[in-house]
Amino acid sequence: MYRRSFKDTRSSLGSPNPNFSKPMVALRFLRALSLVRRSGLGACSPSYRARGIRRAAYACMAASAGPRRAWSRALLRKIRRRPGRGLRRPRAVIWRHRPVGGGDRLEVALRRLVPGGGCMEYCRLLEEAADYVKCLAMQVRLMQTIVDSASHV
């Protein structure tokens, strides 16, 4: 049920290129929230809803970051893929440029954290990490604002 909301969010509102489009993120997120709420009010348990909201948050973040970012593509792919895809069929995707070595544990940890960080070169990884951190911070602030305003009223 949540998939539908994400798809709606994605297809309708397009994706502007500049990254500093806070209004876009807010827009999407609120819309996604409303959709989440509309689809099965309550949805059995708060934890289930929480997971859905989290996915909505990531989806909005990725959608507003733009398709130019590797992490946003990977993130959306991950979000879309999970429900209903239990078996892992062999991917047709060419696993391009798998980075050599994995000795540096910090680098490995960073790769695991940043979505899509498995097959990037190191400097690309750093670039994507910077963008990801920026977007994450923005998303966190947005959600904090919403929660604060909702709980104060």
Binding site: R10, S15, L30, L110, Y132, L142, I146, V147, A150
Partner: protein, 415 residues
């Protein structure tokens, strides 16, 4: 590549017997070319035991190197080279005064190989000229080799053709550029080599297929393509790391890559945890949220005058979802693709003049002027970063209804 050259050179070498005088003359000529190719006259402490470091030393120091290590291994020719250096020295400085820079000392043992090969340049210079002049037309593919001390047989052979070739290519000037293209190409084909460990390098530059790329090597640093590529890559990585440091709060004072990375990782983890936590809170509070204002706005019918301005506003929007061929030009296309209610949304968001004025009048006092680069007055519910405000009149009803909504208010503060 290198192996292809090697047999050719070895064949040449076998035929060389060369008298001392001829060597010196050739080497003098050669030396001048080399000198002209040396980039920086000011000498920084050479950390690399490179040939350029060798040449970068003002000639006396190089001679000192040659002299100290007693390159009598190949009898006459190194001595001839030493002579050559000496001869040049005569004009420059006091002949007897030879002092080595401090930075060079640890690298002497490896320098022996370099100097030996350097000595052989003079020998091969004459033989090489006919071949290399034609070789100037060879593929300017960058020949990278590393003069390892543990591969001496190939070492002396390789530098010579390259050195001879380079003057023909470069016409005696080195320009500064970043050989990014070749750097990447070479990076991929060769494995990673630490340029500081490079025992000797050539005074070669990174060249692309066409045109020639002139790279300026920093003084005392290696100039072969590997090192250049490495250096470029390292600089890129350092730049990105600095960017990351600025993003993550509290990272600017930390020195050391590992700690910075650690801090970044911690920060990302904490942000992700925060998202999780906030989503839980949102889920808990969700039934109480009144998101009806969104629906109200989204379902508002757009005005007839709205369509005209949509093209302009839609500049900030890419209505088609992430199609790779997102070259959707044309305002009418955008207008078609964009569903009507979102067009209204755009209009509302843009904040035309009068509604923005009304907005500001009603706005709460702690909501200060938001940056809105199009109009001086600034604000609508979601200020655009880069749009031009259309001069149209939309209904301010929708906007006013948002004012009452607390979330909207807070979102204003958010921006």
């Amino acid at each position: 590549m290198e192996s292809a050259e090697a047999p050719q050179i070895s064949g040449v070498r076998s035929g060389s017997s060369g008298t001392c005088a001829a060597e010196i003359a050739e080497s003098l000529r050669f030396e001048e070319e080399i000198q002209s190719l040396i980039v920086h006259p000011n000498f920084e402490a050479s950390n690399g035991s490179s040939f350029t470091a060798l040449l970068g030393l003002s000639g006396n120091q190089a001679a000192e190197l040659l002299h100290e290590h007693g390159l009598t291994a190949a009898a006459s020719s190194p001595a001839g080279a030493a002579e050559m250096w000496r001869l040049r020295l005569g004009g420059d400085r006091a002949a007897g005064e030879l002092r080595l820079p401090l930075g060079c000392s640890p690298t002497f043992p490896s320098d022996a190989a370099i100097v030996e090969s350097a000595a052989r340049f003079s020998v091969f210079a004459s033989e090489e000229s006919p071949t290399s002049s034609s070789g100037g037309g060879i593929s300017p593919r960058l020949k990278v080799e590393q003069l390892d001390p543990d591969s001496p047989p190939s070492v002396p052979v390789l530098p010579s053709p390259k050195t001879k070739r380079s003057p023909a290519k470069r016409k005696g000037t080195c320009e500064k550029s970043k050989a990014r293209g070749t750097a990447k190409k070479i990076k991929r084909t060769e494995e990673k080599k630490d340029p500081t460990k490079a025992t000797a390098t050539e005074e070669d530059t990174a060249d692309e297929k066409l045109p020639y790329v002139h790279v300026r090597a920093r003084r005392g640093q290696a100039t072969d393509s590997h090192s250049l590529a490495e250096r470029a890559r390292r600089e890129k990585i350092n730049a990105r790391m600095k960017l990351l440091q600025e993003l993550v709060p509290g990272c600017s004072k930390i020195t050391g890559t590992a700690l910075v990375l650690d801090e970044i990782i911690n920060h990302v983890q904490s942000l992700q945890r925060q998202v999780e936590f906030l989503s839980m809170r949102l889920a808990a509070v969700n039934p109480c949220i009144d998101l009806s204002f969104l629906d109200h706005i989204l379902s508002t019918q757009c005005e007839p005058g709205a369509g005209a301005a949509n093209g302009r506003e839609a500049l900030a929007w890419n209505p088609a979802p992430w199609s790779p061929d997102s070259a959707i030009a044309g305002e009418d296309v955008r207008r078609l693709l964009l569903p009507r209610q979102y067009q209204v949304w755009h209009l509302d968001l843009l904040g035309p003049q009068q509604s923005s004025m009304a907005w500001e009048r009603d706005a709460t006092p702690h909501h200060n002027a938001l940056p809105f680069p199009g109009t001086g007055t600034g604000t609508s519910l979601f200020g655009y970063d880069s749009t031009n405000s259309g001069n149209l009149s939309s209904d301010s009803v929708a906007l006013n209804s948002e004012l009452t909504n607390p979330i909207a208010k807070r979102l204003l503060e958010f921006y």
